[in-house]
Symmetry: C2
Subunit: 343 residues, 2 copies
């Protein structure tokens, strides 16, 4: 039986992730859901009503945000993350894993212990954001895995993210834009200009440069960025959405009249809040490693955990890894990069 | 009589900027407000009721967003921008200028024709954003003037922005953070890490690295960034605020009940909208050149134009240029940069 692994170590609310695991087990009876973490915690959270396809794997240790990722991966073999990756590597039956732990540790662990697909220069961390267009999402690649990337890395991000969006959202030819400080072709720092030239050569639907203010218009399916500015984009969007919604809430309670108004608008605003809620879309895929790895938010809850499991199953069923593997052979030629194997 | 120059060439709504100039002339009777642009357009907009301290300077040409800045500055001597800069340079009575035209042209014109203050490596474009804390603003330096800056440039941005925020907001020791992809000291791309070390050595209130999600918390007065990611931050905030407010509006009209609610909340939401409106804070100062130059949004209206004039007058009265000039001598030593004069 194929299995999806959930590492609950290092996340903010293990109980919520476990609840998500239970929901996922019920929703996907054809798969095992393997929860890795402290056995007592998991058992206590699951109670008596564990679905038969929920499997518990005990891990006595945990990697935290205070650990140095490269060191922790080597020195904490009993951590839930290293155990989860060990399981993932042990058999093809384990199709993928989810972790809500330290981003640095998850990416380092996946890169070093799972390993990159042959030809992939750097894996890419690709989360989704909701847009102004109902039901439409936009993917950022990269949102922070590599902060000083070479232009060729970003060209590969485009190729991998295209397959990702196709597999997950069913968009055959996703519209891909390059994050820059202006829409003109010659805008950008030196790296962005070089990436622009590479993306023009690829057989993708390349929309050219875009500005951060248009990230959520719904005009683009994928935004290509270096990990540093992609991270700025993602977090600026999160922070601003939270700030504005907070201000709206404050405005709602600023007078007696507005309180009555707020009461009447409750349902509509609640549905907006869930629309803007990143939990609904699951975590960020870490594309370019040999297995499906999804990094969920540290504050993941039952909704995002279940959504991440659903995403892994969908990616698996749509053969995204095989697609990336096959493409990497041809794509390497297209972006004209001479890459020593195993670089 | 001291004068403030307003270049209306290349902006989206000249009429609105002219209305702002009229308001500014009325609000600051001790200053001349000199409007540079097409005489007919200005006269038609001003009508018969021009305040005596509103001066019209005709310019027959205009630099647009389609012009190449460096070329346009040289080849369009009759453009409103080049004429405005010419005036600004002609006498100390012209204390500063505002332009709503092409950002590239304004910054290029100011850098080449006004010239940098001795010791300044690169001028910095520093706009304000509203935060979650009522009445509190945060300044981004740089928001896009230089996309591939050396670390030393950013150290100087901090010094100049400190004086700017002090002069304009009266904050004696502004809290300064460095935009990065994590709060830990070792987070960031190579440049950010180098900047972090330089900022630690400066006699400023340095809060360390910050993430884009905390840009609007009100915890910081100044955010130091390279022009590329600073531009991403600014535009992501603008775009997301606009998107979320648009969604709130949509939610308000989604049902009969919510429409009634919206009616009751109208006043509160309107006051929120004006709070989030960047027009209220005036344009972005271009710090490090020999005169006060403020780049306002292309879509500047009467509010932002008047606010920009008010900012220039306040900066002038608080001697910000003299402050920066004096500091540049000592600051150069502090950041340990050997800079050939006039580099």
């Amino acid at each position: 039986m194929k299995s999806v692994i959930i590492d609950i170590g290092g996340c903010d609310y293990p109980q919520k992730m476990i609840a998500g695991a239970v929901n996922a087990a019920k929703a996907f009876p054809a798969y095992n859901i393997v929860v890795v973490g402290d056995e007592q915690t998991i058992k206590a959270a699951v109670g008596d009503k564990a679905p038969v396809n929920l499997v518990i794997e005990h891990a006595s240790d945990v990697i935290t945000n205070y650990d140095v990722p490269t060191r922790a991966i080597r020195q904490k073999p009993d951590s839930s993350l290293v155990k989860a990756i060990g399981l993932l590597n042990s058999s093809d039956d384990y199709i993928g894993m989810i972790s809500g732990g330290s981003t640095g540790a998850v990416l380092t662990g996946a890169t070093l212990l799972v390993g990159r697909i042959k030809g992939v220069l750097r894996p890419v961390l690709a989360p989704f954001m909701p847009t102004a267009v109902d039901g439409k999402l936009v993917c950022i690649a990269d949102s922070g895995a590599t902060v000083d990337p070479k232009p060729e890395y970003l060209a590969q991000y485009a190729v991998m993210a295209e397959k990702y969006v196709r597999a997950l959202l069913g968009i055959e030819k996703p519209r891909i834009a390059l994050l820059s400080n202006g829409t003109e072709d010659d805008k950008g720092d030196a790296r962005t200009k070089a990436v622009h030239e590479l993306l023009k050569q690829l057989p993708i639907d390349f929309a050219g440069n875009m500005e951060a203010r248009d990230a959520l218009t719904g005009d683009y399916d994928i935004i290509i960025a270096d990990g540093f500015s992609g991270n700025v984009l993602l977090k600026a969007v999160e922070g601003t959405a939270k700030m504005v919604m907070g201000q709206v809430k404050k405005a709602m309670f600023s007078s007696f009249k507005s309180k009555i108004g707020a009461l009447l608008m409750k349902k509509s605003l609640y549905s907006l809040k869930s629309k803007l809620d990143y939990h609904a879309y699951g975590g960020a895929a870490f594309l370019g490693v040999k297995k499906l790895v999804v990094k969920t938010h540290g504050s993941s809850n039952e909704i995002s955990t279940k959504a991440s499991v659903a995403n892994i199953i969908k990616m698996h069923e749509n053969h995204i890894l095989e697609d990336i593997k096959a493409e990497m052979e041809t794509e390497r030629a297209a972006v004209s990069v001479a890459v020593p194997d195993g670089e």
